[in-house]
């Protein structure tokens, strides 16, 4: 649970370091699992800010190199777009 000294890992969803650690303790071994357990990476920026931090934490906990951790699945749209813009889009 969050406390005052806890570092924020995912700014969009307000997820702290100890919440991510708790997910790893629960058995998460990949960033996609951490995302589903905590919502880190599900926010407005789609993990652009937090995914690196989550991977570093996972790698540290599992004794791996961060680059061996698969990043969370990235999905369209790459940037948030309004319903109106998407509805009116016409392929040229």
């Amino acid at each position: 649970m969050a406390n005052n000294t806890d570092k924020i890992v995912c700014r969009c969803e307000d997820i702290t370091e100890s919440e991510v650690l708790a997910a790893i303790e629960q058995g998460a071994t990949t960033a996609d699992e951490v995302k589903r357990l905590t919502r880190a990476g599900m926010g407005h920026c789609q993990g652009r800010t937090c995914r690196r931090l989550v991977n570093q934490m996972l790698a540290r906990a599992l004794g791996q190199k961060p680059e061996t951790q698969r990043p969370i699945t990235q999905r369209a749209p790459l940037q948030p777009l309004t319903l109106k813009a998407l509805a009116e889009y016409k392929e040229s």
């Binding site: 599900m42 407005h44 319903l83 109106k84 509805a87």
Partner: protein, 379 residues
Amino acid sequence: MSAHKSDAVIIGGGIIGTACGYYLSQKGLKVAIVEQGYLCSGSTGRCIGGIRQQFTSSGSIKLMMESVRHFQNMEQELGTDVHWHNGGYLFLAHSPEKKQAFLSNIAVQQAAGLKDVRWVDADECREIAPGMDAAGLLGGSYCPSDGQAYPFAVVQGYAGKIKQSGGSIHTFSKVSQILQQGGKVTGVKTDSGREFSAGVVINAAGPWSKDVGQMAGIEIPVEAERHEALITEGVEYLNIPMLVDYRADGGYFQQYKHNGQFIGCYSPVPNVPGHSVDSTFEFLHQMPKRMLKLVPGLKDLKVIRQWAGSYENTPDGNPILDRTGLEGFYTVAGMCGHGFMLGPAMGRVAADLIFSGGRDMPYPEFALKRDFSQAEAMK
């Protein structure tokens, strides 16, 4: 490597597998969930969290009324906030045929005990769903006790309880063989060669349940079909229930009470068979169009993510909950796109069936060997 031993092995860590596991462990059975990916990596983690009781088969209506009771108590029961909210479902009728169909469905639903479902006229629809464009609308079928919950939290809640009762969850473990001896199931083997022995094995593999059945030589008529979804950023809760528009250019969407995000999908025509979870630009263009046609005021809301998942369809739109020709091997699958909502009641009923040794079939309409020609109309 010695075999892992338990009373029941469940293949699949989605809502169905974990709900079955939870209820079996409540009965004192030691449960092992064997999942090829991670919990919720299949359909359950891709669904939009809608929960409704408006069906047309009395079995489904009654089961869903039970599921809603479970969802209502889940926070207390599992010690996890599952974001349950009874925001209601409003099915829209834009044609006299649809209106007539809804009116007769409502009669069936009320007869099955669903008392708060009712027909509402177009003006009342507008009141129920503020900001809705009711052009061409004749009215709708409205049930305020329908609702929503958060799939990840529900599955985690069940998984936590299974572990607390001495059960175990094995992720990244793909079952590749069903073990048997003398006509009885004895366990499963994963593709890494690990054995899990148990006298009960449950096929809860959702869209893959046909493949799992084939491992035991049993035909399970469940086919995967791709459905896409999207989610927006969160805004103030607007009190709009789940809107279901069955027109060819319609869709279904709701707003989560918990964080204000809108989430929705539509059924593609023609359908897209298979396990693909690729998402398309067509959907990202179409879904917003369909949402804005119903609620134009949402136009500035931003979409933050789209994805796809599988429905697991049976030929008649009803699930399969049954024993099989192999003693001790059960199938709880083929939820036809309603598995999240059916999960709690299905898990409870399946656990009762299995615990009693599989003698009394609770729902003949969900039998593995049935006449599949009677379709569920509110599929």
